[in-house]
């Protein structure tokens, strides 16, 4: 079974610190390979919603991770922070607005818009279907790929955005909206096409029905295990999230895990969960938007 670590971030810190990331890695018995030359870090950049909303990975977390990588591997290690354009988001603005351009200058790392990179073709099967993607060479050529995700609710049937879903942002094709009909399978297929080595969660602030400072850092080498753990924190039933099962079946990871560090229950008790009333409201809103009645009813 995979190990998943849970670390409580100290009250004094305004983000997850290098020591806390290091501690989370020790708990899962992970150490960096000193032979590594090129590292890719994939944060979760959500539209133009900055870290205070709990929807975007805090650049300060990534800054601490960069320091740790340089201390643990080498000061010469090449680090690229990657993201791709999306239906509504443009990397050239998101990197700047969300603080990653500033981080890149301060830490002398590259920020890379995957939608403007050289790619190679990848054909992967998932759940009986074949999917063709472009895989950016900056990802396939890296020696170490680190996924730094957030914990947040998303649309049904995916329900949760965390490690697996974050890889969706590695797909260089910008108009990702076209995948929404088959989102679960596409997420799993992308995780097969682009395998990451280490999964960290910036849970300093999370986004449930509202943002909350959860002061949590997590680590695992298994994206399915860490997502299952995050689903539990977010009061979701992992058994009802179909793409977790598909991911396990496709060999991405295991749904069973061994927790290390602070008890998961502690973070679950703080997470801003969805109430029945909120779920019903969301359902009604979805129906209104789907039927095109939004503008007529003064919504959307």
């Amino acid at each position: 079974m995979s190990l998943v670590s849970f670390i409580k971030v100290g009250k004094q810190a305004d983000c997850v610190t290098k020591q806390e990331i290091s501690e989370s890695l020790k708990l899962i018995n992970y150490s960096f390979n000193t032979e590594v030359r090129a590292v890719v870090i994939k944060p979760n950049l959500c539209y133009y919603l900055d870290r205070s909303t709990g929807q975007t990975t805090d650049p300060k977390f990534v800054a601490q991770l960069i320091d740790l990588l340089r201390e643990s591997i080498s000061t010469n290690v090449q680090i690229s922070i990657v993201e791709s354009d999306a239906s509504a988001m443009r990397c050239k603005y998101a990197f700047r607005m969300l603080g990653y351009e500033k981080l890149a200058k301060e830490k002398d790392v590259r920020i890379v818009n995957l939608s403007e990179q050289e790619n190679e073709n990848a054909s992967v099967s998932c759940n009986g279907n074949t999917y063709n993607f472009k895989v950016p060479k900056v990802i396939s050529n890296a020696d170490l790929r680190i996924n730094v995700s957030k914990i947040k609710y998303t649309v049904d049937p995916i329900k949760l955005t965390c490690a697996l879903k974050n890889i969706y942002g590695c797909n260089p094709y910008p108009k990702k909206f076209k995948y929404h009909e088959d989102l679960g399978n596409v997420i799993v297929a992308l995780n097969k096409a682009m395998k990451f080595d280490l999964f960290l969660v910036d849970g300093y602030s999370v986004c449930g029905v509202e943002p909350r400072k959860l002061r949590l850092a997590m680590a695992s080498t298994d994206p399915v295990a860490i997502d299952v753990a995050c689903a539990r924190i977010a009061w979701l039933d992992p058994n009802k999230i179909k793409y977790f099962k598909i991911a396990e079946r496709e060999g991405i990871g295991k749904r069973d895990f061994v927790p290390k560090g602070m008890p998961l229950q502690y973070f679950r008790s703080v997470y801003p969960k969805k109430t029945f009333k909120i779920k019903m409201k969301a359902q009604a809103y979805k129906i209104i938007i789907q039927t095109g009645l939004g503008p007529r009813l003064g919504l959307g």
């Binding site: 133009y48 509504a88 938007i289 503008p295 003064g298």
Partner: protein, 327 residues
Amino acid sequence: MKNIKLGIIGLGNVGMLHLRHSLKLANAQVVSVADTSVKALEKAKALGIKHSFTDYAEMLRDPQIDAVLISLPTHLHLRSSRLAAEAKKDIFLEKPIAGTVEEAKEVISAAKRNCVKIMLGYPMRFNKNFKKVKDDLENGLFGDVENAHAILVSSGPFFHRAMGYSPVPVPEWWFNTQLTGGGVLMDLGCHMINLFRWFFGEVVDIKSQFGHRFNMDFEDSAMCLARFESGSLAAINVGWFSQTYLLQIDLLGSVRTAYVQHVPPKAMSSVYQMLTKGVTSFNQPHFDELQYFVDCLIRDEVPSPTSIDGLRDLEAISKAYKNQIVL
């Protein structure tokens, strides 16, 4: 009674709102719309608009159009209003009047030269609570307003846009200060400056402090301190940084104090208001300003806020950009 025939130029978010409202106006009829987006024109067609144009200059040649509603990006205000004036159409122009004071003056002279009426789109002047404040101020109920505070925060242009269920990016021009003329002070600040000019007279002096939370070339927050003709000192606080929309004014008078908000209703209230009245309380001022514009045209009266109001707002904003203080 005469029926005013309207053409709408620009069918973005505000243009589409104007179109929906215009369809419910008394004594007015929307005959044509113009936008470069074919999708937007299709939406207008679905609402019953027969004539649509991808080039508004072509639309302006239609002699049956009496007036146009211009809801284009700021950098297009001068050209579109000049062409509309030359085509002898009365103009309802969205705020701000133009990107610069010089351009604003050209808009005014084009309207004057061609003897057409021009009204600036400042819906807060049509909010019933702000109108009550204006009346109370004029009737002396507040005494002397020593201090006032205006807050207008939202996510500005960075709200999550969608065509139906499909997300779309923020239009590129929003990121270019050459095209917008500025940041949040230009976009939202002009509303509050216009409102306080209505309450307290012209801006005598103004100083500002800007924020750049999103690291862009334009300010995404602005705090201005302005002295008005009435002697009132006002803090004007606007921002594009908040996921929550809030428009609030506080007036601190020697006799009475007041605070007034203009915020969107809750979802259920919004649905109820749309079903019963066809317009939400939040959008009612937007509807009322259009009805007032049409009524002024029928009565051959000069509508207000005028283009001079637009110019004075822009002059104050321009001064605020020059008079920056750094704390």
